[in-house]
């Protein structure tokens, strides 16, 4: 029986191919999505931890050992932490790659002097060794080098003290009677060293405190000179040091050894943190930045998997349906063969055995081909990294699941219908073969309406339960109730079936051909065939419409998502690039014009200020309306009752004009034209009242994703406050692609960035910065992956439909040829039926797909800062999909025509 099955598969290559193709596509898509999700989760982990500068900060809870000393007098003595020893112990822990000591001491204004100059601002002292600089490039040495006996200064401190390398500064250390003289050996830039300025205090942990004046000493100097003085000060009756110093170990983990899956990685990082804490119980507070980042990614990875699976599920279901469809087309031929086997004496057990072998063989062949297809597609779209990023065990699990899905699909598509057929009597079967095809079950049972009703119920319940509203979770992460995606899926099937039902009803209502006139050969035959057996086209129409609808919805949704993501990024940044000069460095006059590097088409300065409106403190943006309109995207939807250009023109025409947020306008009942009296502060901090006039209301303002209350002109603000420094600059690029933006960013850093340290953000970095939220999902990747399979499925669906038509109607075609019908007419007939299915499927698929895309966009609106106002249409992708269906139709019709031409008229006319 096994050899019979194998021979049967080889003897009927077209039938075998049709059976296998659906399974292969289902497994290919399933495995492709599974591999992609594995890879995405791994990438998500890498992206989540990439911005973490310091993995863990182990802070000594009693940095001066004063509590230990106090405790020694009363209870069991707790020895102070020996940081050097602890450093070695932590470094020896598995998974730790480096450990560096860091000391921090904040001193008040006047603590540092150089010659006759005294620093009249607070000073921060850092203590670390040169290895710290190697491990943490956030501190960039501009000139000189750090050594054990000297000091390194920030440019601001050096400037304020009027000292350079080779000079000397003196620092007043609390507890030390004399000033501490330190030769200056290096100047370093701290403008990118935000983590060093983040608060370690439990109450304000992570809060950034910018201190421009920095002095760095070695840990040796810290241990032997500074710490003893501080201890002496702490032990004094009236200590002069108000803020305790920080003593910490900055721990860097071996990130390559972290699991790619964030959930597993978190377990490992938490284990390392606990190991560090256990070394000196109760004496360390470990700030675990890595676990915090991974926790965000962990939740997102799970949601991403769910979202990917839901977006991918229709494709898998579709491929399975295609497999079932192919199986049903082959059923007639297989029944005939089984009847022949019965006639030759084969019993039910043997027939069942043949069916089982056939199912297993098709399942295995289809699954292997599908896995190869999944691998191949992933390689083609994303390169080798897509397969090497995820852990091997994750991949093996995905392979196992894909194979199981393949066998399940085959069992559902081939085994169950075959087994059902076997239980029937031969006589009953032959009657069935002669009978007119029954009305399909979905049509009889009104499954289309049932699916649509279910979609409406699920959608309503989800809406009432708040499923369409975003749920804020930690940080910027967004949680989305995933079952909201069920409604579009049910709607997809229901609307497609309903569309086909309407087509059938429409065709049935078409007036019959004139009884007294047959009409042209092809036209007369085709119209009668279409009208009288339109149901025969329904299955093919459903399969192809579902595929097209899925492809269209995916293309529309992914393109809209990408467009809106970029719009969000532009809104967040304010333009293509945002350049923020370091607050630690002074901006020279005309600094803005130096930012006009190659590729930049416009620059606009923007500042922020706090304004007092009545007794409310309100945030105000100060813009130059003329240049701002050149750099920012200002959709009219941002403004209320006025267009964007009218609003900005209002500011140009009246420099004392002001734009007010809708919220502020409602709170203070401000109408356009009303005076708005606010209080600002001058550069010296002196309050100054300013009278503005409201010229417009807005809902959103570019560059301020968190919202802003007022937008005033730069000229009015400067006149009132004499504050001229811009907080940041918005730059419009001539070309806004990623590569051009990166080039501009590099040019800015190497040009004006040499004078004033700059933070350059682009729309690309804004998108990437969202890596810990769902908004950063690589839906484009998933879209590309599924588009490949949608095109394949649409084409395969069409080919299977035409092949099925040929199988079912070959006797008819042969009869027509025998009666003298020219081959061109036979082909035209075939093309007419296939073309009808193609056109209806494309139209129906486009309509249903657009509806699904609208629903998807609606559901995922919470992912966007600015709600999408319209659907973006990727004309090229849609044309490719339509082209694939039309091309497959043409190719399959040509192939079928050739097959019909080659069919032996004599043999087939003798059949039955």
């Amino acid at each position: 029986m096994l050899s019979y099955t194998l021979r049967d598969l080889l003897r009927n290559p077209r039938r075998t191919l049709a059976s296998v193709v659906g399974v292969a596509l289902a497994v290919g898509l399933f495995s492709g999505i599974a591999f992609f999700v594995d890879s995405s989760a791994a990438t998500m982990t890498a992206h989540a931890i990439a911005p973490v500068a310091i993995d863990m900060q182990a802070d000594v809870t009693d940095p001066l050992g004063t509590q230990a000393a106090g405790a020694a007098a009363t209870a069991a003595p707790t020895p102070p932490v020996n940081l050097a020893a602890l450093q070695s112990q932590v470094a020896a822990l598995p998974g730790v790659s480096s450990v560096d000591r860091l000391g921090i001491l904040d001193l008040p204004a006047g603590a540092a002097t150089a010659g006759t100059s005294t620093l009249d601002a607070p000073l921060r002292i850092f203590a670390f060794d040169p290895t710290f600089l190697a491990h943490y490039p956030i501190v960039q040495v501009q000139s000189g080098s750090l050594d054990a006996a000297s000091a390194m200064l920030s440019p601001d401190a050096a400037r304020a003290l009027g000292v350079a390398i080779g000079g000397s500064v003196s620092v007043a250390i609390p507890g030390r009677p004399a000033l501490l003289p330190l030769p200056v050996s290096a100047i370093a830039d701290f403008s990118h060293a935000d983590p060093l300025f983040a608060s370690r205090s439990a109450d304000t942990q992570g809060e950034f405190v910018g201190i421009p004046n920095v002095l760095v000493v070695s840990t040796a100097l810290w241990d032997h000179t500074i710490l003893p003085s501080l201890r002496a000060d702490a032990a004094a009756a009236a200590p002069s040091l108000k803020t305790a110093p920080v003593q910490e170990l900055d721990v860097q983990l071996d990130r390559r050894r972290l699991a790619v899956d964030p959930t597993t990685a978190v377990i490992r990082t938490q284990g390392i943190r606990r190991s560090i804490e256990r070394l000196v119980p109760g004496q360390l507070t470990v700030i675990d930045n890595l676990t915090d980042a991974l926790n965000g990614a962990k939740g997102d990875a799970i949601l991403a998997k769910v979202l990917f699976i839901f977006l991918g599920l229709p494709g898998v279901l579709l491929a399975a349906y295609l497999s079932r469809y192919a199986g049903s087309l082959l059923a007639q031929g297989q029944r005939r063969e089984r009847a022949a086997l019965r006639a030759r004496g084969a019993g039910p057990a043997q027939l069942l055995q043949v069916l089982t072998y056939n199912t297993v063989a098709v399942g295995i062949i289809g699954s292997i081909l599908g896995l190869a297809l999944g691998f191949g597609t992933l390689l083609m779209l994303f390169g080798r990294t897509a397969l090497t990023t995820a852990a091997p065990e994750t991949f093996l699990l995905s392979i196992g699941l894909s194979l199981a899905a393949g066998l399940l699909t085959t069992a559902l598509a081939l085994y169950l219908p075959g087994r059902r057929a076997l239980t029937r009597e031969v006589a009953q079967e032959s009657r069935e073969m002669d009978a007119q095809p029954a009305v399909p079950a979905w049509l009889r049972l009104r499954l289309d309406l049932a699916f649509l009703l279910a979609a409406a119920i699920v959608g309503s319940i989800t809406y009432l339960a708040g499923g369409y509203r975003p749920t804020s979770s930690e940080g910027q992460s967004l949680s989305l109730s995933f079952y909201v995606l069920l409604a579009p899926l049910l709607g997809w099937v229901g609307a497609t079936l309903l569309g086909v039902r309407l087509f059938l009803a429409l065709v049935n209502r078409l007036p019959d051909r004139r009884r007294d006139r047959f009409g042209g050969l092809t036209r007369g035959t085709l119209m009668r065939s279409l009208r009288r057996r339109s149901q025969a086209l329904a299955s093919g129409m459903i399969a192809i419409s579902l595929a097209v609808a899925f492809g269209v919805s995916l293309s529309l949704f992914v393109t809209t998502y990408q467009t809106e993501k970029l719009a969000d990024a532009r809104f967040t940044i304010g333009s293509d690039l945002r350049v923020t000069p370091s607050v630690l460095a002074a901006q020279p006059p005309g600094f803005g014009s130096t930012l006009q590097v190659a590729g930049v088409s416009a620059v606009s300065p923007v500042s922020g200020a706090t304004a007092l409106v009545g007794t409310d403190k309100r945030a105000m943006a100060i813009v130059d309306p003329v240049t701002f309109t050149r750099v920012a995207s200002l959709p009219d939807s941002f403004f209320i009752g006025i267009s964007a250009s009218a609003a900005l023109n209002g500011l140009v025409a009246d420099p004392s004009g002001i734009l007010v947020s809708d919220e502020l306008a409602r709170t203070f009942n401000v109408q356009v034209g009303d005076p708005v009296n606010i209080q600002l502060r001058t550069a010296a901090g002196k309050p100054v009242p300013v009278a503005f006039r409201a010229v417009g209301r807005f809902k959103n303002f570019p560059g301020y994703p968190q919202g802003i209350d007022l937008v005033a002109t730069r000229s009015a603000f400067q006149a009132a406050t004499h504050r001229t420094t811009a907080e940041f600059f918005l730059l419009r690029a001539a070309q806004a692609d990623d590569a051009s933006l990166a080039r501009i960013a590099a040019a800015l850093q190497s040009g004006p960035g040499r004078t004033v340290p700059l933070r350059v953000e682009t729309t690309t970095t804004a998108v990437n910065r969202d890596q810990s939220t769902l908004a950063s999902l690589n839906l484009r990747g998933l879209g590309n992956l599924e588009s490949v399979f949608t095109v394949l499925m649409s084409a395969a669906g069409m080919a299977i439909f035409i092949f099925g038509l040929l199988l079912q109607r070959r006797k008819e075609y042969v009869t027509m040829r025998a009666l003298g019908m020219p081959m061109s007419s036979v082909r035209a007939l075939l093309l007419g039926e296939a073309g009808t299915v193609t056109v209806v499927s494309l139209v129906l698929g486009a309509l249903v797909g657009a509806g699904m895309a609208l629903l998807f966009v609606q559901i995922l609106t919470p992912l966007f800062t600015i709600p999408p106002s319209s659907i973006s249409v990727p004309a090229g992708e849609l044309a490719l999909l339509a082209g694939a269906v039309v091309g497959a139709t043409a190719a399959a019709v040509l192939a079928a025509g050739t097959t019909i031409r080659r069919l032996s008229l004599v043999e087939l006319l003798r059949e039955e």
Binding site: R515, G519, G520, T525, A818, G820, M823, L909
Partner: protein, 236 residues
């Protein structure tokens, strides 16, 4: 109406290659059939009767030899030319009727006319069906007709375009004896009316005896050729 044409076969063979070896379905037949004659082809199963009919109908091409129908040598015709020959010269009647299932009885008949570009032959088709006793069934689909009725529609389709040659492959094979007799009556009457040449392949001796000439085949060869007078009495 096409003019009845004489048929001439000279050394016609039709061989097939199968996994079991070479099959000589028709093996060197020399034969002449007069225009307007009625001929039965008989013989055991697999003797080459249907193959011979297929060759005469231009459904198949001889492996070797010459096959003339009127002035056309079917052995040398291209596929499109054979299709033209079939739709203009030949009326086929198949054992399993082979009606197009989505066309009504009258449309099946009209289909044959439309093959020749005749678009307004509806009345002619109805008359034909009426003459075959199917006037009340003209608008029925094939699966609403009995076997005998379907075969009569098949006959009507074969006659609709007034062919020069009517080829019937076991036309009564699936019918009871009474219906068979009725079908043969109709066929012979139509042949007389059209003056066409009629070749019938049959196992049924009763059917064969009603035709002027009976050709007996065995293993692809013509082993007997008997003629009868118009009353059915053998003359050679």
């Amino acid at each position: 109406m096409s003019q009845a044409e004489a048929i001439r076969l000279a050394g016609v063979t039709r061989h097939y290659r199968t996994p079991a070896g070479l099959v000589r379905a028709v093996d060197g037949i020399d034969l002449e059939i007069d225009a307007g004659a009625t001929v039965a082809v008989v013989g055991p199963s697999g003797c080459g009767k249907s193959t011979l009919l297929s060759l005469l109908g231009g459904l198949d091409r001889p492996t070797s030899g010459q096959l003339w129908v009127g002035k056309q040598n079917l052995a040398t015709l291209s596929d499109p030319a054979r299709a033209t020959y079939r739709r203009t010269h030949v009326g086929f009647i198949f054992q399993s009727y082979d009606l197009l299932p989505f066309l009504t009885a009258v449309e099946n008949v009209a289909f044959q006319l439309s093959l020749q570009g005749e678009l307004d032959g509806h009345d002619h088709c109805l008359e034909l069906l009426d003459s075959l006793g199917l006037g009340d069934h003209a608008d029925k689909l094939p699966d609403q007709l009995s076997g005998g009725q379907r075969q009569r529609v098949g006959i009507a389709r074969a006659l609709a375009h007034r062919p020069a040659l009517i080829l019937a492959d076991e036309p009564t094979g699936e019918l009871d004896s009474e219906t068979s007799r009725s079908v043969m009556d109709l066929l012979l009457e139509a042949q007389r009316h059209l003056g066409a040449t009629l070749v019938v392949v049959s196992h049924d001796v009763g059917v064969a005896q009603r035709l002027q000439r009976v050709l007996t085949l065995r293993d692809g060869r013509l082993v007997a050729d008997s003629r009868s007078d118009p009353k059915g009495q053998p003359v050679a």
